[in-house]
Symmetry: C2
């Protein structure tokens, strides 16, 4: 194999495919990148759950393939000058020669034959979303995924494709985050519901943040689904992942339909007040109280060891006076994910789930179960 | 006590004095800040080795003193709006009331009587250095301090005051860094040599980075010495520290006076080449080879597991061809600390200490013992 590419392209490609490599004592080749030069130059990695394939722009002088340690190669390439890099292997060789100007290296590799197969999916029944919408939406739900391993179905983000919308939802049963974005759906006969592992979502966010591609095509992400795999196509990068089997809880039924108090206030002020109050919440309980009455919300916390705090904020309160106690971590997560200057808080009572959402936007919802007092 | 100060001043003050607080199970009050309002408002912390006193600008409405948890108070104040903050305690009280606009808090404190005394030094025999010179110089030597606890005298930076110079030196016996700066010395009769603990130096660097004070006075640091303490005065902040007793090795004798090869090359290129080669150095040995011959230096490394690398750099070589093997970590530390575009490397042979220094600057020196081959 002999291929030639630009350092900046190779560096970006390695940081994209690097996501899916893993340290595995039984299968050390999973720490390697498969470099394959045939019709195109492809860089491929997998941790057996996720597979990433990236097409590298460059020139193939001789086809071939080899695998090489992702960390060593990535670190080395990132230090090279931004010039042409030559990557050469002998036929059947297990070493890669990398040359770039005055830098010459031989890196030990391993035969491509040892590398696991990446599954493939037929590209039919396409779902198409806007790249930026998708990236934002993923980051608005991923934090709410459960890290309790006993409920596997909650360890991923639920994708529901319905009525030209993609609805993303995640919950750990204490709080739930939901975000809807527009989605072009080909041949839709019925609703599709799929649970995508949280690790896949995290890698997807990294890749979406990493690969700045400004052509028209690159503004969209194409999604394809098979029985147990999901494929995301982002211009020159493809990520394939297993799907979590199992029944996602019917979360729609816990979304409150009514409320007794509707509070509208500055998101930044509430965020600051919750952070300051959190210092005085009880260790391990993390309780912060919110009390609303006419025109104001009082945020308060008290612990025997540290002291007590109260912050009064101006707010528009529609409906009854109300009190609720919430884990401040859930509050901060929610407030950080909601868009806009104002946040709407809908409360029934101290024991019912309460709802946070942006002021004039029905596409986003964050629901928290209060702490019982 | 009742004092009033601006949030931004208090926040800065707390981040400065916060350096010297410590978690101490036997003496939990060391995690507190002493707030004392008498002639001035002083914030004081100590870990029994270092004491920091900072004068806060503000108004004293009623004098008094109290101690309060540094972490809680620091975090809380950093979240407050940049407005006036009122700090109030009852006489003999053990609670602090903090009010700032719509934020009201009561924080548990502890009586000031329990707080350890900060030692003081007579302000005579002053040493005066330029603040920026001093900050830069400290950061150019501190990394070379030994972390081997069996040689206490190497666990600090040596300050030598002589001939209107302050000479800073640090070594861990594998490498040595020395930096000289101008110093106004009052009543100097003889050379003063003092070992300042590395922790003091680290806190001093933090404080120098933290407190941006732009008055004329604040451009200088005054230093005073007693038998077992050293005092640094930086405008509104004073840091007092114990001194390490013991005899610092006479390091001057290991500074080579001659060399066989003098190499001048780009510091940035050498840094990059060493970083790239480091990937291929042997684990635990960290060896990188430098070979100079006419007009060039070859940087190389090879490990059985990873592969091998060589980088050829243009250089001006005066004298013999030469080979030397160095721990790349020491090389990177030195190259990062040396100023200027070009670095000078002076080599005797593979077993003698070699010298790195800036091209046209005799104030700085970095010496490394090579790895024996």
């Amino acid at each position: 194999m002999k291929i030639i590419g630009l350092q900046e392209n190779l560096k970006q490609a390695l940081s994209i495919v690097g996501c899916a490599t893993s340290k595995n004592i039984n299968l050390p080749i999973l720490g390697n990148i498969l470099i394959r030069a045939k019709d195109n130059i492809e860089l491929i990695t997998t941790d057996l759950e996720i597979g990433i394939t990236h097409q590298l722009r460059g020139k193939i002088e001789k086809s071939g393939e080899i695998t090489i340690d992702a960390k060593v190669f990535g670190e080395y390439v990132s230090l090279l000058p931004n010039q042409k890099i030559e990557i050469i292997t002998e036929e059947e060789g297990e070493e890669v020669e990398v040359n770039c100007e005055n830098y010459k290296t031989r890196i030990k590799g391993q035969s491509a034959k040892e590398f696991p197969l990446i599954p493939s999916i037929k590209k039919e029944n396409q779902f198409k979303v806007k790249r930026n919408d998708f990236k934002e939406a993923l980051s608005k739900v991923v934090f709410a995924v459960s890290n309790n391993e006993s409920r596997l179905e909650l360890s991923g983000v639920l994708f529901t494709f319905i009525d030209n919308q993609l609805v993303l939802a995640a919950t750990d049963s204490f709080r739930l985050s939901e975000k809807k974005i527009a989605c072009q759906i080909e041949n839709q006969n019925q609703e599709e519901r799929i649970i995508v592992p949280v690790k896949t979502i995290q890698e997807l966010i990294k890749i979406l943040n990493n690969s700045i591609e400004l052509t028209e095509d690159s503004q969209e992400v194409l999604i394809y689904i098979s029985d147990n795999q999901i494929l995301f196509c982002l211009n020159s990068t493809e990520l394939i992942s297993r799907i979590i089997s199992g029944q996602y809880p019917d979360y729609k039924q816990i979304i409150p339909e009514k409320n007794k108090s509707r509070i509208i206030l500055s998101r930044a002020e509430l965020l600051r007040a919750v952070k300051a109050s959190a210092i005085f919440s009880k260790t391990g309980i993390n309780d912060v109280g919110l009390s609303c009455s006419k025109d104001r919300v009082l945020i308060s916390a008290a612990s025997g060891q540290v002291g007590e705090s109260s912050v009064e904020l101006e707010a528009k309160v529609i409906g009854d006076d109300n009190d609720i106690t919430i884990n401040y971590r859930y509050l901060l997560d929610g407030l950080n994910s909601i868009e806009g200057d104002k946040v709407v808080l809908e409360v029934i009572d101290a024991n019912a789930p309460c709802v946070f959402k942006p002021e004039k936007d029905e596409s986003q919802l964050y629901i928290v179960m209060p702490l019982r007092q």
